[in-house]
């Protein structure tokens, strides 16, 4: 004699197995993430530095991009050319065109300042100085012309948003900071793909 009890129809067992499977998947995912996950550090900037991606206005970003391209061109010259020569060859931001007008009417000039190397100050350094007419649109800019053995990645641009920006005495960091110049730095780190609140 066999007694068979009829179980009620229901999805209790299936639900249990499904929850177990979901829990297992989540636990595995948490383990993998915990194992392989890495903290990302966004490099902190020094007080005298500005981030090219986040700290510049739209006009400043355009000018900065143009200066980086111009720097690559300047590498072909044996000596830093005059601004008029650069303007004649149509190299932004040195030409006075509609973009220059929209980006703060900068007046560009070539100057010679006391320079700096890893070993300390050197006699001179040629810079291109763009004095802004509209500081609220874009600040004044300073581009160090390439020295003899510099690489494209050695480009250095400084920004000063003060209305009556004064030139630094030299390219020594202390002099630049004292006269309100900030070095614009472009860095590629995990912050590129993450929003920083």
């Amino acid at each position: 004699m066999t007694t068979v009890v009829v179980e009620p129809a229901g999805a209790g067992h299936e639900t249990l197995w499904l929850l177990l499977a979901a829990g297992l998947i989540l636990a595995t995912a948490a383990l993998v993430v915990g194992w392989h996950g890495r903290d990302y550090h966004v490099a902190e900037l020094a007080p005298h530095q500005l981030d090219a991606r986040r700290d510049l206005t739209a006009a400043e970003q355009g000018l900065y991009a143009d200066l980086r391209v111009a720097y690559d061109e300047l590498l072909f010259y044996a000596e830093a050319p005059a601004v008029a020569e650069l303007a004649d060859s149509g190299l932004p931001p040195f030409i006075a065109d509609a973009s220059a007008a929209r980006r703060g009417h900068h007046r560009w000039q070539r100057l010679t300042l006391a320079g700096v190397t890893d070993d300390g100050p050197v006699a001179t350094a040629v810079v291109y100085y763009g004095e802004t007419a509209e500081p609220e649109v874009a600040g004044s800019l300073l581009l160090a012309a390439p020295a003899a053995d510099t690489e494209p990645s050695d480009v250095r641009v400084w920004l000063n948003r003060e209305a009556g920006a004064t030139l630094p005495a030299s390219l020594m960091p202390a002099d630049l900071a004292k006269s309100g110049w900030h070095l614009v730095v472009a860095q590629f780190d995990a912050g590129v793909t993450r929003e920083r609140q």
Partner: protein
Amino acid sequence: MNMAVTPVPGTGPAIAFGSVSLSLGGTDILCDICLELSAGRTHALVGPNGGGKSSLVKALLGQMPHQGQIAMTWPGDAGNVGYVPQALEFERGLPMTVEDVLATMVQTRPGFLGLARRHRELVDTALARVGLSGKRRRRMGALSGGERQRVLLAQALMPQADLLVLDEPLAALDEAGIRLFETLLGQWQAEGRTVVWIEHDLAAVRRLADTVTGLNRKLLFHETPEQALAPERLINLFSHSATEVPLAAGEVA
């Protein structure tokens, strides 16, 4: 409710419903059904439409989320359960023959690959018993309602079931089909198979069933046909305010 109907020795199980209730979507379909069905007998379930007859047999088949206990006590090992549904719903243009439908019931390989040779005899026998041997190649959509009902009866015979659950098998049958059903039922009764049979034809119930159970959301009576089908019982059963009829003095309870 329990009634002393002598079990018939055979292969069919006795069935005990212990306080079975069923609610679907907040509606009470069955309330506290306590019922014992003897082994090897033919038990008819009668009652108005929506009274829960089909739900009770579906609970017996394990297809409903019922509460309470349903137990089947088999004389030996648990045997086969055959189910004949009320109707077979399918697209009339479906290119499936009678043989294809029966093939899907007995084999695991897809029906469109044809009937497996080892099941051929089983299908032949079942079709012969319901008188459909000559129509095995007919499309299901081309069959009459009575013939389709015979196909449903045939599938309950493959393999021969020890417990047969029939949901209004006579509804679409013609005269010859009814005679065929009575013959089959006689064979099942002689072999001691348990039959649970939902039926509206009370004359057939009186003639063929061993017990009659009245159901209208709750159990109203469970008696022999002579007692159950008395006029006052039937009026109460099919009225809107059906209540359990107290048994008269001297009736077996």
